[in-house]
């Protein structure tokens, strides 16, 4: 397929369709409203469903209801909207339904601002809603990767019967880049006759299915949580994605950075290289599961004096980086979160001063 020039938000919408998701529920919020605008126009062409919910709270449950029927379904929002959907996310995780949530992050807390941010790292990877659950979180660095991750998200959600989140920032949503929609990322939906409320007639069954997150019996609840736990462990074995940059050198420092921020770091690394300073980078593509081993191994390299987590937040991912580095090297942090993405020169200065 030929490359097309698309905005991240629109590309995510098209990627969902290409992934076989024809059901979309959303509530407008900057900087991701273009997804809804795009799909409102595009879904009727493919006999799809779009409902603009009355709130993100309601949208969360529209997703839950549709997912409970075993249909592919997606919503997109931005930080404050995801907070409102977090209630449903917890229920969906508890009820074990596959669904895809896209968060095109803006600044916070509160209304914050509408510019790019990575301030929802904790919310995405550590919970957000209540209870013992995780989302499988993928963080694209650009429009092409946003497309690929969106397409992968549906089969992953079905494999683990749980919510998957694409965590981008405002720039990923607003930027246009050339994209291709790879055919090989489409996967047929898994059979869900054993759990989805698809109607007994459709399944040719006489046994009802119940989609619920309520387990009043302590043992049943514990078992449900053990099932979830086992799945998160499986994700850690099978779904970790990361990318190494300039790590075949004797790098003096190791950057850990993701999404838009990692691109700025890449340019900074190129600049520093020209000036004779080698810096490596590990870019987590999945934030949960986190590339623990990759970061540890890269930090362990003898030439590496320090690890620096660079984020568009006030130090969230750095806690995971510290955990992975296990004290073998000092872990530093740099970040900005007002919405102004630091320039490569700023990053180069910061890295150089932290290493001296």
């Amino acid at each position: 397929m030929a490359k097309v020039l698309m905005k991240g938000n629109e590309a995510i919408g098209e990627a969902a369709i290409k992934a076989g998701c024809l059901n979309y529920f959303a509530y407008p919020i900057t900087p991701q409203s273009e997804v809804a605008e795009y799909l409102a126009k595009r879904l009727p062409d493919v006999n799809g469903t779009f409902v603009q919910g009355e709130s993100e709270v309601a949208v969360g449950y529209m997703i839950f209801g549709a997912a409970g029927c075993g249909e592919r379904v997606m919503t997109t929002s931005s930080s404050p909207g995801i907070s409102l959907m977090s209630e449903a996310l917890s229920y969906i995780a508890g009820a074990r339904c596959p669904a895809v949530f896209v968060n095109i992050m803006r600044g916070g807390p509160g209304l914050g601002g509408i510019l790019p941010s990575q301030g929802d790292y904790f919310q995405a990877t550590k919970g957000g809603g209540h209870g013992d659950y995780h989302l499988l979180v993928m963080a694209p660095e650009g429009v092409q990767e946003a497309v690929e991750m969106t397409m992968k998200a549906f089969p992953l959600a079905e494999k683990y019967r749980g919510p998957v989140m694409i965590l981008g920032d405002g720039l990923i949503g607003q930027m246009m880049e050339p994209v291709e929609f790879p055919d090989n990322l489409y996967a047929e939906p898994l059979n869900n006759d054993d759990w989805a409320t698809s109607g007994m007639d459709k399944r040719g069954a006489d046994k009802k299915n119940i989609v619920k997150s309520l387990f009043l019996n302590p043992k049943e609840l514990n078992d449900n949580n053990l099932t979830l736990k086992a799945q998160y462990e499986q994700m850690k074995k099978e779904e970790v994605m990361s990318e190494a940059y300039n790590t075949d050198t004797d790098y003096k420092g190791l950057i850990v950075s993701y999404g838009t921020m990692s691109r700025v770091c890449r340019t900074a690394i190129d600049t520093m290289k020209e000036q004779g300073l080698e810096i490596g980078m590990i870019r987590p593509k999945t934030l949960f599961p986190f590339p623990e081993k990759e970061i540890y191994d890269a930090a362990a390299k003898e030439s590496c004096k320090a690890v620096i987590s660079i984020e568009l937040s006030m130090g969230q991912m750095v806690e995971d980086v510290e955990r992975c580095v296990r004290g073998i090297k000092p872990v530093e942090w740099y970040g900005e979160c007002g919405g102004d993405i630091p320039a490569p020169e700023t990053i180069a200065d910061v890295v150089q001063s932290l290493l001296n």
Partner: protein
Amino acid sequence: MGKTFSKPRALTDVPTHYCPGCTHGVAHRLVAETIDELGIRGKTVGIAPVGCAVLAYNYFDCDFQEAAHGRAPAMATGIKRVRPDLMVFTYQGDGDLASIGMGEIIHAANRGEKFTTIFINNAIYGMTGGQMAPTTMPGQRASTAPAGRDTGSTGMPVKMADLLSALMTPAYVTRQALLSPKHINRAKKAVKKAFEYQMNNTCFSFVELVSTCPTNWGMTPKDALKWAEDTLIPYYELGEFKTPEPEEEQ
């Protein structure tokens, strides 16, 4: 045959956890009988609320989802929009529907979502232990209104059927009661009508059922019927507030 009476197929044999004399069981039966009579058990998805009917999925023998407090209409929207061939109903109480879920019900109704809502109005929060509901009567005691509901600070009870019938979109809005065999027979007709409208692809249908809560009202089941008849019915007027027919005839 007219007098033969037994448990409908769409109810399981699981004994309900409802208190003695609670009319939830009656409402369950009416819905289950309707499902049987329309032959739709294999394509029905019910949605349980948070409230006393939270375990409704154990009592109905059809597919069920369980929503968060108040969110059932949003969930039903999700189901019905992606699977218009399914018959979808929400079963909600007054704390769930008229308080925390007011936004969801109003908007689902106003979008004309093609599902049916069964709304149990017993003027109190049952499951959490008798707290004041938006439907609690003036002066009625509740655990969070120990001196009785003070309308000066909490407003007047919300009349959901009246409120929803003020919307232009919904097709069928009715309020019935479960306080006597006569009421119940009428309520049955209303429930069946609501499901039939849904079957015919007519938009949103809403059946409010005035019910009792003997336990939290602190009354015997018999007295509860009497109190509801004397106190609730004059305020929560019974009848059909909105039907699709007049428009269809035009």
